[in-house]
Amino acid sequence: MSLSVDISHKLGDLTVQVAFQAPSGITALFGKSGSGKTTVINAVAGLLTPDAGRIATQSEVLFDSKAGINLPAHRRRLGYVFQDSRLFPHLSVLGNLNYGKRFAPSGSSGPDLEEVTALLGISSLLHRRPGTLSGGEKQRVAIGRALLSQPQMLLMDEPLAALDSARKDEILPFLEQLRDSTGLPILYVSHSVAEVARLATTVVVLEQGQVAQAGPTEQVFSDPAMVRHLGLREAGSVLPAVVKTHHSDGLTELTVSGGRLLLPQINLQPSAKTRVRILAQDVILSRDAPKGLSALNILSGTVTEIRAGGGPGVVVQMRCGSDLLLARITLRSANALQLAPGLRCHAILKSVSVARHDVGHT
């Protein structure tokens, strides 16, 4: 199951002209507000008719301006989770969940009420009214309602943006589970780097209505050109990792392709897959193998690219094993180290620099 989108739509001063593929897994539409993310997801949902273009799943054309096809929203079978949950106030939680089921085509397969309520942890809320739920509970019910409509794909527009960080942490594991256990493709709109780094399998970066970058998350995040989109403080690479073992001193050892990492205790079983995000500004580079340092995590690799920005800093991309790592250092240091593509060097990361909420399991 995959989705292909190729549309153009004029919206005031902004012309949205976007083409991308969303394979299975979570495809994040990432960009600043006003970059056209919501326009794209609403066009996919059928809530907005683009000026021109084509939107299709593997099995069905949803919109094709040339062929004159424009399937109405209710026949697209795309579950939509909105930022503001949009639960129906006159129905109970159960009524809301059943509403999704009610219009699902008969004979379609998908998770049933029990599975969904168990997955989302909302079994105890069934007889409550929407107005009595917390923001996080509302959003979980909204996700359940969308799932029960047996969609061929799930659309999520900033589903966590209205929640505080505690509520976010409550929902993120459910989204990861959804991605990993149901196999349902998800188109996920977000402007949060941390969310995208943790959840997305594919990232499509939008800027002023155009696709600025697109590809697998690890690849997109390790592209020095991304620094501009993510901002200097948020830029950093995303590395797939496997939990190796938990040490008695409270550290967890992870294996990445370029070596090992020690992190403060992670709540995952050994051999579980996970993802670590290493901010470019938390990486120190050294030509010589460092000795006598307090930092525990050192990865060796080869410099692949050096990109100068406008300011005093440069972004260095290096290959460690099969992964790409970004480091942001000053131009002065880069010159002093005589860094150049092809050069061997060592990346020093403090273990504390990999924050808990940046770690997710794949």
Partner: protein, 232 residues
């Protein structure tokens, strides 16, 4: 009680209730449709429709009654056609009183229902559509339950207006005791004859009682409906 009110008075009360009931019943689906169109649809002539719906509110009722008479009278083309095709005579019949009352009550109903529809968050209707509900299903399962309090208010306003309609009714169907004489026209009739004042007062008391009962019942209904849709 039966001695307190004479047969003519009973007939007037019965007719008023009957007219109010039928006028409300006929108006409700039509008002729902027009309110929805005015609140949610964009179409040419929308402002004209809006003006037309509200016209009876601004015209002197006697003008509305006269217009009905020259449109639906037995010798008017439309009236003659209705009589020939369906055997339906409106002028000087209780059915005409229903028509007059319905037209006079219609704008009040539309105003109440339209306000309720405009208060429904279109985002909820969109959400229902993404869950697979067709436009008709969205209306029946989301919009309609959410506007129920407004619908009740509109129905009661329309009923009260129909019960009390006087000017257009007396112009269109006259004031024939036992046939087209409603509560207000009976009161008017009593006031036209000497010594009729005590009889008029009895009917005034009946009018007040019916109005109070309708008002209280609608308040209770609307309140319980509103409680169901506030999400708590």
């Amino acid at each position: 009680m039966s001695t307190w009110l004479g047969p003519e008075e009973w007939a007037a009360l019965g007719l008023s209730l009957k007219v109010g009931f039928w006028a409300t019943l006929i108006n409700l689906p039509l008002a729902l449709l027009v309110s929805h169109a005015l609140a949610r649809w964009q179409f040419p002539g929308k402002q004209m429709l809006n003006a037309l719906v509200h016209l009876p509110l601004f015209l002197p009722p006697v003008v509305t009654g006269y217009l009905l008479l020259i449109t639906f009278g037995r010798r008017a083309p439309l009236g003659a056609w209705l009589e020939q095709s369906f055997g339906l005579v409106l002028a000087f019949r209780w059915t005409g009183a229903v028509l007059a009352a319905a037209i006079m009550g219609f704008p009040l109903m539309v105003r109440a229902i339209r306000l309720a529809i405009e208060a429904v968050d279109p985002d909820l209707e969109q959400a229902a559509a993404t869950l697979g509900a067709s436009r008709l299903s969205v209306f029946a399962t989301i919009t309609l339950p959410l506007i129920l309090p407004g619908l009740i208010t509109g129905a009661v306003l329309g009923f009260a207006k129909a019960m009390g309609e006087f000017g257009a009714t007396i112009t269109f169907v006259a004031n024939i005791p036992g046939r087209t004489q409603t509560l207000p026209s009976a009161i008017y009739g009593f006031l036209q004859v000497p010594d009729g004042e005590s009889d008029a007062l009895k009917l005034v008391a009946v009018s007040v009682a019916v109005a109070m009962a309708a008002l209280l019942a609608s308040e209770m209904l609307a309140r319980s409906a509103a409680k169901r849709i506030n999400g708590r």
